[in-house]
Symmetry: C2
Subunit: 235 residues, 2 copies
DNA sequence: TAAACTTGTAGTCAATTAAACCATAAGATA
DNA sequence: TATCTTATGGTTTAATTGACTACAAGTTTA
């Protein structure tokens, strides 16, 4: 099959006219960031876009998204969820292609850029500094951010952006950054601790130039129990 | 193009390997129902499934879903939202086809079955009485119900299932039916009225064999305002 | 070494909200 | 008229929220 974007021959074992595109979120130094790739060839050469690719004939859409992430980041167990399908007739300039959007949350401590992707370069961008993107990727990114804001208030998915062990302040700053709100430290503590979702691991921060804060882990067990009867995350 | 399901020739102006399927919800006599169609020809003859169809080369996915609804029900302004794309490699027995799931909410008072769809018959089923469905439609329906439960607690979309004018008890029963919970009448009233989303139209029920309840309308204006700063619908 | 500074953690208090009730009103039916 | 059903208005208690104060535990600076 002829790749309508690069003009090269690609495997005939992929579905034509359907792709996936993934917004990969990371959290570093108090800022929410996304991983973008620079397209090396084809009509969009030199422009930045969301990582994406084709779906193979024999793999599910989810599997394709996981494969894409593995190829790009080397990570296996990434938090990944489908957003929706984007399918304006003119979204792709060289033909009718529908794309299935995904968003992923990665722990930056685990992440290392992997070379050899079909894009020449991959780079983290702060949300506010994202450049103009190819096709409808700006729209997909915007939708991803809205979705992240919504989801983070309904389930504790924010943990996927933090290291294994984190402080309550880090957690609060994550929420502040994603939701773009100011919060009160004592109130946040109380509210979050009451949910019983955090395990006190009896460790403290090291090498900080102030009083060291307690470190916590996320307790997935109680989360599962709470989820069943439905609960809320308003701050 | 050969329709892989019916074996008939269909217009070549549709995308191959992508379809849409739509869960249409209705509310009648206190029960949540879905509209299913019986397939008349092809390998799934005689079996029930969600209404679905192909996407034309020049229309957006959303437009295709709206067209499908118009063809099936004759209604133009239906509440419609995309769920997600379903794409297990083996979901469709005769080839690799990805489907984009939608769900719609209709007012039963507006609805009348429209003949001449590619299915021989269309019928409303109570959720608990839905028969075995073709392909992965049971899974799509299940996902739709979960999604409806989630959405109904985040935005007042339930109104789309009720007549223009309704009583507070009808509204409460709708929530009870969708969420499968028992609620307290006085508390529900107070909570809902406080949101200022209902307009008292100074009318009462007629022909009921008990004290007539006030009728209300949904106030879309205040809803738009409230939505901007985000609010919650827990009951 | 002491003071100043930074961040963590505990507690207080008024205002709001939620949940479980009880009570009465407004009809219709027997 | 009595009784039944549903509508609607209150009360009470406990829990939660939001704004704020205070102090603890370290580091850095003077």
């Amino acid at each position: 099959m002829l790749d309508i974007e690069s003009g090269e021959l690609i495997s005939t074992s992929v579905m034509s006219s359907i792709t996936i595109d993934c917004t990969i979120f990371g959290f570093e130094n108090g800022s929410l960031e996304v991983l973008l790739v620079k397209h090396a060839k084809g009509i969009s050469e030199g422009k930045w876009g969301l990582p994406g690719g084709w779906i193979q004939e024999v793999e599910s859409i989810d599997a394709a998204a996981h494969r894409l992430l593995r190829e790009l980041t080397g990570l296996e167990n990434i938090y990944l969820e489908q957003l929706k399908a984007f399918g304006e007739p003119d979204r792709f300039p060289l033909g009718r292609v529908i794309t299935v959007g995904y968003y992923a949350l990665v722990k930056r401590e685990d992440y290392s850029v992997k070379a050899g992707f079909t894009a020449s370069e991959a780079k983290w961008f702060k949300i506010a500094e994202v450049p103009e993107l190819i096709y409808d990727h700006t729209q997909i990114l915007e939708y991803s951010i809205q979705n992240l804001r919504k989801r983070v208030r309904q389930a504790p998915i924010g943990f996927n952006l933090l290291p294994e062990k984190f402080t309550l302040l880090q957690l609060m700053q994550l929420y502040q950054e994603i939701l773009k709100v100011e919060m009160d430290k004592p109130n946040f503590r109380r509210k979050f601790l009451r949910m019983k979702l955090l395990v006190d691991i009896n460790e403290k921060q090291k090498d900080v130039s102030h009083r060291a804060a307690k470190l916590y882990k996320f307790d997935n067990n109680t989360y599962q129990k709470l989820t069943e009867k439905g609960f809320n995350f308003e701050f």
